[in-house]
């Protein structure tokens, strides 16, 4: 992973309280797992920055996997920390924790 890619992602997750790296966009997701994660965030009324990993393949396709040592996309970050992939996001949504995590991050 290039130092530039690392810096781009680091800045993004540190300067935005809630960031979702996904395939496609929240309105036009290109993968069911990305779609479910974006839907969960929308359902709790989260203001979040969505990054389409297809927008810059060089930085994101491999970079985002190396950045947090997490092998799949989507990835949700809150306050600069990786929360998890779609299984974890959906679990947190169903247990109600996602809403409170988002609220305390964006309060």
């Amino acid at each position: 992973m290039s130092a530039e890619a690392m810096q781009v992602i680091k800045d993004e997750v540190e300067n935005n309280p809630v960031v979702l790296y996904m395939k496609g966009t929240p309105d036009f997701p290109q993968c069911g797992f990305s779609a479910r994660s974006a839907e969960a965030l929308k359902a709790v009324g989260a203001q979040f920055k969505a990054v389409n990993v297809f927008d810059d393949e060089e930085i994101y396709r491999q970079g985002i996997k190396t950045f947090s040592n997490w092998p799949t996309i989507p990835q949700l970050y809150i306050n600069g920390e990786l929360v998890g992939g779609s299984d974890i996001v959906v679990d947190l949504y169903q247990s109600g924790e996602l809403k409170s995590m988002i609220e305390s991050a964006t309060a």
């Binding site: 092998p71 799949t72 996309i73 998890g84 992939g85 299984d87 679990d91």
Partner: protein, 81 residues
């Protein structure tokens, strides 16, 4: 093309104390339920990382997606109720 049995064996050899079930027959999308005492005290994030680690580069490569459910033996009763 990967069979669910192959993935089960990989997870099983990486986490010998685990009970592993893997579903999925399209060769690229799978779902796994992994129960292991090694997950005790670990966050879900850490538990998923432990499972991904057993699969190495195959994750995101040959394995396009692996939906994970991880649990400790103690918690199985709760989540089933």
């Amino acid at each position: 093309m990967l069979a669910p049995e192959t993935i089960r064996d990989l997870i099983q050899s990486g986490l010998p104390d685990a009970t592993v079930e893997v579903f999925g027959d399209d060769g690229t999308h799978f779902a796994a339920r992994v129960t292991s005492p090694s997950f005790e005290g670990q966050s879900t994030l850490a538990q998923h990382r432990m499972v991904y680690a057993t699969l190495g580069d195959r994750m995101g490569g040959e394995i396009h997606a692996l939906s994970l459910k991880t649990q400790t033996p103690d918690s199985t009763g709760e989540s089933a109720s």
